[in-house]
Symmetry: C2
Subunit: 339 residues, 2 copies
């Protein structure tokens, strides 16, 4: 990682100044790129920095300037492929800007999310990005009085202090169900997301609306509980099968649920899509590797993260570019068949 010199890491601007034969403030000016340092001294300072292997102490800088060049991220589950992809998006957005990411997770607990938000505030992050918050809009707004906040998974506009980025979940779920309908399915089951979370609720609503508009009465026995996890998916299959209400298709609230459902079906010897059609939501990287590859509603997950990062960055600069909400897209693969 490092090279030759035995660095003591105690080197300060003072040391550099002494070595270069200038004052500390001149070194500071050189560092911050402010106007007015003569060519000769610039080179002397540059050499001294090289020689002493000097690295500015970011803490001292932050203490002085009030900016830590750090963005706090609250995710609900560090192991989730969905949040992982969003994380990559943010990372991409801030790469090269000198910003760093302080990452915590709320584990779907409002209390933990709140505590961790305070941890981030205590560390004086310049802004916070929350992936799928478990808090209410009101709480987010309160938080945003302390520091700019961008959330994903829920729409919200309180610029320039807070912004929520999300696809239209209700409409997307409506479209997913409509697609199943268009393929001749009439008895369509739904595996819910984590109820209580707006995105899960909205997807359920979209599902119901599509059914109603098609003149189909919603059958409660075809609505299985879930929690956005694979395990929840297999449990939902059990629930659905035990209800003894027949169905030919399933709309899962997310791909992870769909993956679990797929295994549950496999265990019972039920073929997809021959006997049951399956559609998911998110389009995770692995969904294309499922057997059969999963038909799903694509969320631009990476872009969602990138957009969140870019937006927060521009909020920090005070610029106020109008943001466009991300759009979903139906990705037709092989897990749905016409009947």
């Amino acid at each position: 990682m490092e090279d030759q010199s035995a660095k003591k890491d105690n080197v300060t601007v003072q040391d550099v100044a002494r070595e270069a034969g200038v004052s500390a403030s001149t070194v500071s000016r050189y560092l911050t790129g402010v106007t007015g340092v003569s060519k000769i001294k610039q080179e002397a300072i540059s050499r001294a920095i090289e020689l002493l292997n000097f690295t500015p102490n970011v803490l001292a800088q932050s203490l002085k300037t009030g900016s830590t060049k750090t963005i706090g991220i609250i995710t609900q589950d560090l192991g989730s492929p969905f949040f992982g992809e969003e994380l990559k998006g943010v990372e991409h957005a801030i790469s090269g800007t000198g910003y760093a990411l302080l990452i915590v997770s709320g584990h779907w607990q409002s209390r933990e999310e709140k505590d961790h938000a305070e941890l981030l505030i205590g560390r004086r992050v310049d802004g916070i990005i929350i992936f799928t918050t478990t808090s209410s809009d009101k709480q987010i707004l309160a938080l945003s009085r302390q520091v700019p906040v961008v959330i994903t998974g829920r729409r919200l506009d309180a610029m320039p202090r807070a912004l929520g980025l999300a696809v239209d979940n209700e409409l997307a779920a409506y479209e997913a169900t409509r697609y199943l309908l268009s393929q001749g399915h009439r008895r369509i089951a739904h595996i819910c997301g984590r109820l209580g979370q707006p995105d899960a609720e909205e997807r359920l609503q979209g599902y119901k609306r599509a059914l109603k508009e098609a003149g189909i009465t919603v059958d409660q026995r075809l609505i299985a509980s879930g929690d956005f996890t694979e395990t929840g998916g297999v449990l939902a299959i059990n629930q659905l099968l035990e209800s003894r209400s027949p169905f030919t298709a399933i709309f899962a609230a997310n791909d992870q649920s769909a993956l679990g459902a797929r295994l549950g079906l496999y265990r019972r010897g039920i073929r997809v899509p021959e006997e049951i059609s399956l559609i998911g939501f998110d389009d995770l990287a692995v969904s294309n590797y499922m057997l059969p590859p999963l038909t799903t509603i694509r969320q631009p997950t990476f872009d969602l993260g990138r957009l969140a990062g870019q937006t927060l960055l521009s909020m920090l600069q005070g610029s106020t570019t109008p943001v466009v909400q991300p759009q979903f897209e139906l990705v037709k693969r092989e897990s749905v068949r016409r009947i």
Copy 2:
């Protein structure tokens, strides 16, 4: 997130001291829990803190004490389920300790890993954890002269400055191949990991050793290149099939490769395990949801992260508990059949 009071966030120990009618140093003593603050003043300070909604400025604390209570993490890919699980382990290890995680990624580029390591150093992290480093032992050792380092995916013992945690990759790969052999397979293919990475190389060696010991000459046409990704897995299948050298089983260097291989096989109409047996490495959460569920070598991924976190923490405290290296385990599921 927040509650009532309109906090101005400029509140310092000075303000608290004034409000409580004591000196700043007494407030500091109260904060750090050092001996010697009278009950009466303790309560006065406590009240003042509550009233002013005071939060200590961690930056100033760090500047003064020299410890940032922050651990830097270098991962290669934030979206990877493997690293995600390790991350959760670290998170678990540090939860409740007051430490926070500054996370960057190297994207499998040595150069980027080095730059990001320096970013972390510049931010004065107390220690660094690297998931599957792309650097040489020598470089790791150099880095460890600046700050304690724990790496995973490769064994290394340079306590108390640096430690590498990993399962015995060569042995694990040997066992995986032996298992295939025990099931009657003689023509076994291997999908490599990212060659150049010690863990990938060691797995390849273990595969070869098992073959040789069984009196089977290694067929280069059955060794396909890969890079630990799903895409690499499907590409490897193409490569293997084009070589026209028959095989009845595949040992993939990791589960992601196995997942890609599974899709590649599916595309060609080749059944698993009826026609081809498949074994992976890692035991990702999704591997249990593959069709058929994947037989694989289980790495205690979460525990690897947890162990890394715990070890680093104890290094920071100067304590030197001897660490035990993590162990792998063969998980038999349904992707391998006896022939």
